[in-house]
Amino acid sequence: MIHKIFRYHLVSVYFIISQMVILMSVFNVLHIFNKAYAKERERLEAIADNRIELTVDTVNGQDMLTGAGKGVTKGNVVAEGKLTCEVAEIGSLNRCEVILSINEATPYKMISGHIPGESPDDTGKRCVALGRNKVGYAKERDGIKYLTINQEEYEVVGIIGSENSDFWDYKIVLNSDCMGDKLKNSYKSVNNYTITIYSNLSSVQETFEQVYQNLLSADSYSNIVAVDKRQKGESTVKATLQRENLRTNVLVYVFCIINSIIISMFWVVQRKKEVAIKRVFGYSNIRIVSDLARDLLLLMIITFVFYLTGYAIVQFIIYLNTGMYDHWNLTSVLAVIGMFFLTMIITLVTPVIEIYKNASEIIK
């Protein structure tokens, strides 16, 4: 059977390669879509039901963060916005978020450990939770990972991340109660940031009033704008898709489809004599075409199986290294099957036309 398909081995091999590239582009596109939607899903899941966002502008160089969560008993409070920290191991400024108060479960997806402040042991200790991407920079000593933030060493007490997407991978999460003085001092000069008060359990109005008071008592000249957030915010899907090379993959696919058409035309040209002979000796056009279709289909299936095997192996390696794997939903599976058949039909159209058009039965 196999040797029959590979009779014209050069064309067959070339066909397989082009099919391979087609599959690659299709899988890439789907991977990008899956990833973008997984990330968006994760973002939406992380958003609490009740939220108030405060935009704080301050100029006086006060420590606004340490006392901001004082007396808060409901909901969580976190500061972010323009907050950054200086990680020596990475050698650059990194965006981070600083937890000001924890009173209920945080939305972070943990791979291991916890968020600073979630454990009573954390109080007074310098510690941090890192996304998968950042954790790679931490140095290990006696089984504990450390990261140098603003010239002080922080213990890594948690690794954040999810198997579904890279949404959490770049996070650096600190807690104002578990922070070094140097970092605290550096935040005195930050004069604009946001503080989010959120809860899934209760209204955050009371907490808002408390935090508002705390902020004003730290700097009575600061300007605070509070917004009760109802919307879920802007979708990240479009941004993710733009960042990924979606267009390149689509172009590659189109290019390969054209390539496939050319190959299948060449396939017929190469088999011209064979086709003519088969016709003279009684093969009908349908029979000739179906033989051709069978060969091409088998080649496509062989390629598909090869690709899937390779894909599985690569996924497994990625999973071992990053803990992430592609999530396939019904739509993606249907899309791949659809693309498979579309490619097959497009590939077959030219030979079929070719065979029916040149229905001559004369052998020269």
Partner: protein
């Protein structure tokens, strides 16, 4: 019985209105051994192709036994060919990437013969033509004589009534050509009608009837015993 009645063939009236065949009338009885001779371009292949149902007539009628072949639909023509005609070509017309066995198998597959049955028939034919040992070779690895034997085997497997051979010895040397002719003679003796086109008078002289054509017309038609 093959009967042509004033058959005219013009390939493409728009390009060239010359008649490749011009009112050819001809009867060939079952079991005859006929050669067709004539200069290049005289219409020999055209005549053979029409008899074989590979080409249509422009005018006139062609009957095979009681069947009016000239008015068959493409599909019926196809079946007619499968049932009654075996072809042998000058350049063998073997499929390059197929073994001898696979080449011979083609008409049998087309006639939906079962695999086991195919194997039996092909082995018999290979045996009787003395080419059993090359059954797994591809044409490129065979001599011209072997290739033509494979082609003859292919023409014979479906048990066609008529074997048409267009210059079957044209690409072979004298000796091999004679051998192939010997085979065709045998095939004729076994009761089949054999019609060959040839340029070679020594080949033609071995047949029982020589039809000469020129400019699409029959110039002479002589039977010999």
């Amino acid at each position: 019985m093959i009967r042509l009645d004033k058959v005219t063939k013009i390939y493409d009236i728009k390009v060239d209105d010359r008649k490749a065949l011009d009112e050819v009338s001809l009867t060939i009885e079952d079991g005859e051994f006929v050669s067709i001779m004539g200069p290049s371009g005289s219409g020999k292949s055209t005549l053979l192709n029409i008899i074989g149902g590979m080409d249509s007539v422009t005018d006139g009628d062609y009957y095979f036994n009681d069947c009016r072949v000239s008015s068959l639909t493409a599909r019926n023509l196809h079946d007619f060919r499968k049932q009654h005609i075996g072809f042998v070509f000058q350049h063998f017309a073997l499929m390059d990437h197929y073994t001898a066995y696979e080449n011979i198998e083609i008409p049998l597959i087309a006639s939906k013969v079962k695999k086991k049955e195919r194997k039996k028939i092909i082995s018999e034919k290979l045996e009787s033509l003395g080419i059993l040992e090359i059954k797994d070779k591809i044409p490129g690895k065979m001599s011209g004589g072997q290739q033509q034997r494979v082609a003859i085997a292919r023409a014979l497997v479906t048990n066609a009534d008529v074997i048409l051979a267009d210059e079957p010895t044209g690409a072979l040397d004298q000796k091999t050509g004679q051998e192939v002719l010997g085979l065709l003679e045998q095939i004729n003796k076994s009761g089949k009608t054999v019609i060959i086109v040839t340029h070679d008078p020594s080949i033609a002289s071995k047949t029982n009837r020589i039809i000469s054509i020129e400019d699409g017309r029959i110039k002479s038609d002589s039977k010999q015993i």
